[in-house]
Amino acid sequence: MADELDLTGLDAVAALPVDASERRAWDEDPHRRALLREYLAFVASEPAVGSRAGEASERLGAFLHENIAQPRQAPIRAGRFLRWQPALAVAAAVAAVAVGLSVWSPETEFPPALRGPAADSIVLSQPVVAGDVLVFDWTAPEVHEQFSIVFYDLELNEIHRSGPVEGGALRVSIANLPAGFSGQEVYVRVLAVEGTSVLDRSSMATVRLP
């Protein structure tokens, strides 16, 4: 398939004059010629009509900062545990506010949002392995009605999709997942869907399959 092509020589060929013999030889193959054209368009990075370059640049910068430069532990969501422990939840909230007030100053910079203001509108709790099923639960704005859980391998290839379901929870039988991932970590996230459209998405969480 196309992605098996060796692209190593692209930059060297791109730097050659169009009449150089190596460049001409490369250009004789329509697939290589297409790849060269694509590569040059990639590095030229001209804004496409309809793209939101400024917003994308800002959000991707924030994404890199939060996920690579200054990664933080996945936030512990007020999910299952706190829902069943109202007193602890109240205490935790009070403590958080107290700490927040003690360190806040007008100059405090808030950390950049991962995906913009609406990004974390769906919050996926840490998935739980319960016997031969994975238990997911999440919170989402009421405007969303249907949800799917998507599984990715560590290369971020989609490996499985469950749903769509209504509500805020889903149990996925581990037997339904593709073979070969036993004992491995995978990424998961929840999507708000409507038909084939994805309306919103949660941040990624990781789960180790039994």
Partner: protein
């Protein structure tokens, strides 16, 4: 064809820093800075594939994370931009193929089956890139070949092919692809026709 590459020296310096002590704060910051130099290019390329801002943002984040995770596999045999282009292209192709973005049934290669005898032969060829390229080389002109490769092997949308090939005709790549498909269908049909016999 003109183009501008990022400063290679700066990429190399950041890459060295990123790989010097993987996991350290300094290393992570260098990796973030290096990928940040290309984040706009990655987003634009993803957008050209999916034609949707949110979809492109998702894809771009996938590309950047994947590139970060695979950074230690970069062998320095090419510029960093080339390596990142390969990661971006591969991620986009996988996404398009698995999520069926960009698919226009009129332009599916398999649809040639509807117009030609010997569907097994056509399907076999559609799966065999080398065989299809050979037929294309025989019956299509260079521009048609390139457009077909971009559409069927690179999964690019017709509008993007129009731009990449700098087509100025009214129908752009759609007209070109239609003409190429017709030629291919005819060629395959002729190839399948039983040879005439005397008497």
């Amino acid at each position: 064809m003109s183009y501008q590459l990022k400063t290679e020296d700066a990429d190399e310096a950041l890459l060295r820093e990123a790989l010097a002590d993987p996991g350290s704060e300094r290393s992570r910051q260098a990796a973030s800075q290096l990928l940040g130099r290309y984040k706009d290019a990655v987003y634009q390329w993803c957008f050209r594939y999916v034609r949707d801002h949110d979809g492109a943002m998702d894809l771009a984040q996938d590309v950047l994370l994947r590139a970060y995770r695979k950074l230690d596999t970069f062998e320095g045999r090419s510029r960093f931009s080339t390596w990142l282009f390969a990661v971006t292209r591969s991620t986009c192709l996988n996404a398009v193929q698995s999520r069926r973005w960009n698919v226009d049934s009129e332009y599916e290669l398999e649809s040639l089956v509807d117009h030609a005898p010997g569907p097994d032969k056509v399907l076999e060829m559609a799966d065999d890139q080398e065989a299809m390229l050979r037929v294309m080389a025989q019956v299509l002109d260079p521009q048609e070949q390139e457009a077909m490769v971009m559409r069927y092997f690179e999964c690019l949308p017709p509008d993007e092919i129009t731009r990449l090939l700098a087509l100025t005709n009214r129908t752009g790549a759609r007209g070109l692809l239609q003409r190429a498909r017709r030629k291919l269908t005819d060629a395959i049909a002729n190839d399948q026709r039983p040879e005439a016999t005397d008497g």
